[in-house]
């Protein structure tokens, strides 16, 4: 990481006064990166790219959108019909949201599988979870803007969750609404916040990268970099690898945009919001379904187990607590996971528990889309229980009892040994 010497006199002049070029050189050119990162490490930069796409398309959409209950739906349709390539911008933004969550979920699970959150990268992980929370808020706010049936009723359901806050709940809900129901002040407020939060995310991403660049990337082996032989410069190796990933990603993303733009959407949202007509099934966007399943999983009599608690915590409150806990618990994952070994590759039991956890969240997602009744509810409850069991019980215990496999001496040792690990990096 020596300071580069610039030949171009203008660059030299600028860099002497404001070392942006040196900064870029250190951050994306010579930035030392483990040589064995596999394709699961592509999703971080992909997420960053989608954020930029979302902000760019969003700014253009906002130029043509009207944040008023009587005009919002029609203004979106005008974008779809009369604004030049408005349909393209809008579908890019709409599907971009879904893609953002797919990419971030993979990024998150990557971190879990390879134990990326462990010392010294706990803050990096926590900032990541904060970005995830900000993303969820942004996505929810954005979904309200087209003012379709699901926009309206989704907003009604989600804002009502805050009513469980003791003492101030009702006041907070009315403050969110700007009135006594979801109405024009709510839409205005949501539009404003939907425009603001992406820039908050952008700031958080910057801090996320700052933390990342302090201790550098982890790697599939989970052993620290021990010297130059373990590292390669970010450019050209990972710029080339990430670019290829971008190509593959764009094929999937634009495949949806051009050929199935409404695949992730709810048909009901093409019906203008009507406060007098409740849709038969209010479902959130697909990326919220696991949390929706957890929210609805807590049975009415569940709390009775402790006798006095039902007076204090009704089922709805417990559901909301469960939902937020499911995400907030991720923040303390670095301490819940007591194993010294990072990568699931050397943790034979964790390997299986990880995949069961992944399947568990997918099951939760499917149950979130079903009506909360009968077997769907039962499966949802079991999956919810397992979710917490995994995080709160299995993770702490596993570190104490699991027999891990021996770790390689270093990344380069594993590479030169010619194991499968080496190949994955190529």
């Amino acid at each position: 990481m020596s300071t580069p010497t610039w030949k171009n006199p203008i660059i030299k002049w600028v860099d002497h006064r404001l070392p942006v070029f040196t900064f870029l050189d250190h951050s994306i050119i010579t930035y030392p990166t483990p040589r064995n990162l596999n394709y699961w490490w592509n999703f971080g930069s992909l997420a960053g790219m989608i954020l930029v796409i979302m902000i760019a398309t969003g700014i253009v959409l906002a130029m043509n959108y009207t944040g008023h209950t009587s005009m919002a739906f029609d203004s979106v349709e005008r974008i779809m019909r009369d604004v030049n390539y408005g349909w393209l911008i809008r579908y890019l933004h709409m599907n971009g949201g879904s893609m953002f969550f797919i990419v971030v979920y993979i990024h998150l699970f990557r971190g879990m599988y390879y134990g990326s959150y462990k010392n010294p990268r706990e803050l990096l992980w926590i900032i990541g979870v904060m970005i995830f929370l900000a993303m969820m808020a942004t996505a929810f706010l954005g979904y309200v803007l087209p003012w379709g049936q699901m926009s309206f009723w989704g907003a009604t359901v989600i804002t009502n969750l805050f009513s469980v806050i003791p003492f101030f709940g009702e006041a907070i809900v009315q403050w969110l609404w700007g009135g006594f129901s979801v109405d024009n002040p709510t839409l205005n407020k949501f539009f404003s916040l939907h425009y603001l939060l992406p820039f908050v995310i952008f700031g958080l991403v910057f801090v996320h990268l700052w933390a990342l660049h302090t201790h550098k990337s982890g790697n599939p082996l989970g052993v620290e970099v021990k010297g130059d032989q373990d590292e390669i410069p970010f450019h050209p190796y990972y710029t080339a690898k990430d670019s290829f990933g971008v190509g593959v990603f764009l094929i999937v993303y634009l495949g949806f945009v051009f050929f199935a733009p409404n695949f992730f959407g709810e048909p009901d949202n093409y019906i203008e919001a009507n406060p007098l007509v409740t849709p038969p099934h209010i479902v959130p966007e697909w990326y919220f379904l696991p949390y929706y399943a957890i929210l609805r999983a807590v049975p009415d009599n569940f709390i009775d187990v402790w006798g006095i608690l039902p007076v204090i915590i009704p089922a709805k409150t417990a559901g909301v607590i469960g939902m937020f806990a499911s995400i907030l618990l991720l923040m303390v994952l670095p301490w819940l996971d007591t194993s010294k070994v990072r990568s699931a590759r050397f943790r034979p039991t964790y390997f299986w528990l990880f995949w069961i956890f992944v399947i568990d969240t997918i099951i939760l997602g499917f149950m979130g889309a079903k009506p909360a009744e009968g077997n769907f509810l039962l499966i949802g409850r079991i999956a919810t229980a397992y979710y917490f069991l995994h995080l709160v019980v299995f993770m702490p215990l596993l570190g104490k009892f699991e027999k891990t496999k021996p770790l390689p001496d270093s990344i380069s040792a594993a590479v030169t040994a010619g194991g499968s690990d080496a190949k994955e990096g190529s």
């Binding site: 040589r35 029609d74 349709e77 779809m80 019909r81 349909w87 393209l88 579908y91 390669i232 050209p236 190796y237 080339a240 690898k241 670019s243 290829f244 971008v246 190509g247 593959v248 764009l250 094929i251 999937v252 634009l254 495949g255 949806f256 945009v257 051009f258 050929f259 199935a260 733009p261 409404n262 695949f263 048909p267 009901d268 093409y270 019906i271 038969p280 190529s426």
Partner: protein, 262 residues
């Protein structure tokens, strides 16, 4: 790695073309058969002759109760009407012309009107929801512009509903003024069977059977919901072809760069 890319690409292609395929159960419980729409698949397109027939069915039958309020008369040029024809179609409608010099919108209690122009929205049958409900025994005929996007499996659902009217099975309790249709939620619908053979006389000589009219008007509604569909899919093909080549090149570059390392 190339294999993975090809598998992924194949998945995307197969997936996007199969989105509309397969039969699904309607809210009413009856199974909806998939129709062969020209707009289906990667190379979906609009059959403009069919869209014109569909517009004829809409304007002669559906338009007496249902609006398409997001469409303008000028949009009809996109389905093959000439500018002159559009002017003529628009002029047949009466649109509010007020206020006049005196600032009045009504003259003697009657709305001041002028003939429609291409830049006007296609005139809705009722001035508002209350008038619509009053004229239809309390039922609201929904706007149709986005109908095929606003229902699950929209195009096939609309077609099935239009052709699905039957006598109610014995034992089925039909409410007053309702009609039996197994595709509608609850199997009963306020709208009477709108289509009957030769309900319209097609300008292009096509035989106007119920099935033909249902297909034509649904095709028209697919267009009204997604007027960009044809342009979108054509652009998509070009974008995909570019991306396949570009991504293959990026992969080659990546291999080349990393080859130095081993």
């Amino acid at each position: 790695m190339f294999k993975k890319v090809i598998i992924l690409a194949a998945f995307v292609v197969a997936f996007s073309s199969s989105v509309n395929v397969g039969s699904v159960r309607a809210a009413g419980g009856a199974e909806i058969n998939s129709q062969d729409w020209t707009t289906n698949g990667l190379f979906g397109f609009f059959d403009r002759k069919q869209l014109k027939r569909g517009f004829q069915v809409y304007s002669e039958i559906c338009a007496s109760c249902h609006s398409v309020r997001l469409l303008f008369y000028r949009n009809l040029e996109e389905i093959g009407f000439s500018p002159e024809e559009v002017k003529k179609i628009a002029a047949e409608a009466e649109v509010a012309a007020g206020p006049n010099e005196d600032g009045d919108t009504h003259d003697d209690g009657e709305l001041i009107v002028r003939p429609g122009k291409p830049f006007d929205r296609i005139v809705s049958p009722y001035p508002n929801e209350f008038a619509a409900r009053a004229a239809n025994a309390g039922a609201l005929p929904p706007d149709l512009t986005l109908m095929t996007k606003a229902r699950l499996n929209g195009p096939n659902y609309v077609h099935a509903l239009l052709t699905g009217y039957k006598d109610a099975p014995s034992g089925f309790k039909l409410s007053e003024g309702m009609n039996y249709n197994p595709y509608f939620s609850g199997s009963q619908i306020a709208m009477g069977a709108p289509l009957s053979d030769d309900g319209v006389e097609y300008a292009d000589g096509t035989k106007a059977t119920v099935g033909q009219m249902a297909k034509d008007v649904t095709a028209f509604l697919i267009w009204s919901a997604e007027p960009e569909l044809e342009e979108r899919k054509r652009m998509g093909i070009k974008v995909m072809l570019f991306l396949f080549v570009f991504t293959a090149l990026l992969y080659a570059v990546k291999r080349q760069v990393w080859a130095k390392l081993h």
